[in-house]
């Protein structure tokens, strides 16, 4: 893990919980969540070549309760395997915003940490945690299946102890992430997901959720239209 991973400084205002058993319930939920993780089946880069060995007979990820899942809405983990080109990064952000909370992002390979082999390339985004809150990095080019599995075990431990909460950071500091995305994709960048509304809904509306970048977003944003199905 590197130092740049943002740490949530101040807790957002949450409704006061009066149930004395809420704490116990939280721990139970964290335990249950840590033992059943669905990993989004999206091969974003060359690190994906070490995922089939990790998933299949020899290293067998399923013994940890981790399975690939094809739709983002049912997935818990977004594995970003390797370099992300600008075109892919747009899809990754769209996918991430579609996933239901709690969600976790793992950056595999050196390229997600600092650009790796392609630090000179004009086509890749260098640091993933500028655009998405990353929970865990697995460094290496490319990390062995053992390293992938040990990283996932670390994530399981973190979830179990309630320490893997970086997805909240995306809502609490949305302005920061949106600013970096706008810097890369241009001022017209928008996604169909209403992140600000979700932040209010989840009670994660922080002081840095809104800012100059979200103002820019609201000025260019087109109202969301229901998708038209032509059949």
């Amino acid at each position: 893990m590197i130092k740049d991973i943002p740490i949530i400084a101040e807790q957002a205002q949450q409704p006061r919980r009066t149930n004395p058993l809420a704490h116990v319930f939280d721990e139970l939920m964290n335990f249950a969540r840590s033992r059943s993780l669905f990993m989004l089946h999206y091969c974003t880069g060359c690190g994906a070549i070490e995922l089939p060995p990790a998933m299949t007979s020899r290293f067998d990820m399923e013994r940890l309760g981790i399975q690939p899942m094809v739709t983002p809405r049912q997935a818990d983990i977004l594995l970003v395997t390797g370099y992300v080109s600008i075109k892919t990064l747009k899809r990754i952000i769209l996918t991430y915003e579609q996933m239901g909370s709690p969600k976790h992002v793992i950056g595999i390979c050196s390229c997600t940490v600092n650009g790796g082999m392609y630090w000179q390339s004009y086509a890749t985004a260098k640091k993933l945690d500028e655009y998405l809150p990353v929970d865990l990095y697995i460094a290496g080019c490319m990390p062995r299946p053992e390293a992938v599995i040990s990283g996932l075990q670390k994530l399981i431990d973190n979830i179990k102890h309630g320490k893997s909460d970086n997805w909240k950071d995306y809502y609490q500091r949305y302005d920061h992430y949106l600013g970096n995305q706008q810097h890369l994709f241009g001022n017209n960048w928008q996604t169909p997901t209403d992140v600000i509304g979700e932040a209010r809904e989840y009670g994660l509306f922080g002081p840095q959720t809104l800012g100059q970048h979200t103002e820019l977003l609201e000025s260019v944003q087109k109202p969301l239209q229901p998708l038209e199905m032509k059949l």
């Binding site: 070490e50 089939p52 060995p53 080109s85 086509a123 199905m229």
Partner: protein, 380 residues
């Protein structure tokens, strides 16, 4: 309803709709997308949508030293990286006038064929998964791992080896390595009947793959198809035989061909190539102990190596098709221009678009896997 009784009703044009097949789709190979226009479940039109994996390799290589590029080239094709570094090394050797020692050439042949076996096992797994047979995927990937172990012992890397440098190979084979290769090959050969029963003669696969994505020999030549996909249309064209590089002219092997040109034939050609590769590696194991000598020829200081000016074109046969490098040097310490001719940039764009059109939606993934396209190489 059986597929042969299925008659698509010709809907008016408004009944067509578009579907994004990829990039986040379990049926697509890697990070790649197809935009398909559908009528019912028949594909009317398909457009390949690449660029998700573009890293600008050819530009990056112009900014790095000749020897640094060796670490860069295997990343172009992830499942089968050895031919990439080999073709680049051959081109640089041609420019620099380097004479590769015989022992290094035999080691290179062994490495190429082991890489081909590993890549084919991986493809069978992916192809079987698109027809719903996941056991083959689990077996294929697990057996491929044994070959990755061999690579790890030889080169230090499981996937990216960076073992060939211009002038030879980086280090000699370890003690007892050839015995371990033999035992792994024996194991794979003993598994082949199981694979036949599970996948290649399985009626689920045979019925779905026969007649799917058929191309004629004429079409294949027009579209620039190479490698196993071309040999599946009945043409005996193999760079290893027609334009021998390394020591392939001293090796006895057959060129696997099939006549049908459909997904079934393409898979069967790969199945036959697996046996031929085993045969080639066995010949290398037989010959290698009797060949002594150095494993690389002396090269100038690699950090200040000015390769003589000129142009070179080296081509070799990989598991995906013909890989070629066109390298131009102006006498500097970095390449002036490197062009990569990858097989997948034809297979996954024009060939895939043409083969998918007129077929059905559930066959799109199967056709893509039967062509064995490699998206990182398409985008580069």
């Amino acid at each position: 309803m059986r597929p042969e009784n299925y008659q698509a009703i010709n809907h008016p044009p408004s009944h067509e709709y578009e579907l994004n097949f990829g990039p986040n789709h379990p049926g697509i190979e890697g990070n790649y997308a197809l935009k398909v226009k559908l009528q019912g479940d028949q594909v009317v039109e398909a457009h390949a949508d690449g660029g998700y994996l573009h890293r600008g390799f050819e530009k990056l290589m112009e900014g790095r030293l000749w020897i640094q590029n060796i670490a860069l080239v295997p990343r172009i094709c992830v499942p089968d990286p050895v031919p990439m570094e080999m073709a680049y090394s051959l081109a640089v050797e041609e420019l620099g006038g380097l004479e590769v020692p015989i022992r290094a050439q035999w080691i290179r042949v062994m490495q190429l064929e082991l890489s081909r076996i590993a890549a084919h096992l991986f493809t069978f797994g992916g192809h079987a998964a698109t027809t719903g047979m996941y056991t083959t995927m689990y077996w294929g990937v697990a057996d491929r791992d044994l070959f990755l172990d061999l690579f790890e012992e030889l080169t230090g890397g499981r996937v990216y080896h960076i073992y060939n440098i211009p002038g030879g190979v980086r280090r000699d084979i370890p003690d007892g390595y050839l015995d371990r290769v033999t035992s792994t090959l024996d194991y794979l050969e003993s598994r082949l009947p199981d694979y036949d029963n599970l996948f290649f003669t399985n009626q689920v696969f045979v019925k779905r793959a026969t007649g799917t994505g058929t191309m004629t020999q004429q079409q294949a030549l027009e579209w620039g198809v190479t490698g196993p996909n071309l040999r599946a249309t009945g043409l005996k064209l193999d760079v290893r035989r027609d334009d021998p590089y390394l020591v392939y002219d001293e090796i006895d092997f057959d060129i696997a061909t099939e006549e049908a040109g459909d997904a079934w034939a393409r898979t069967l050609v790969r199945r036959k190539e697996l046996q031929q590769s085993i045969r080639i590696v066995r010949q290398v194991i037989e010959r290698l102990p009797s060949i002594g000598g150095p494993i690389r020829c002396p090269i100038p200081n690699p950090l200040a190596w000015n390769v003589p000016a000129g142009e070179a074109y080296a081509r070799i046969d990989s598991s995906k098709g013909e890989v070629a490098y066109y390298v131009v040097s102006t006498g500097g310490d970095k390449p002036y221009r490197v062009h990569v001719r990858g097989p997948s940039s034809m297979h996954a764009v024009q060939v895939l678009e043409n083969l998918v059109t007129g077929g059905r939606l559930e066959d799109v993934a199967q056709i893509m896997f039967s062509l064995d396209a490699c998206p990182p190489e398409v985008d580069r």
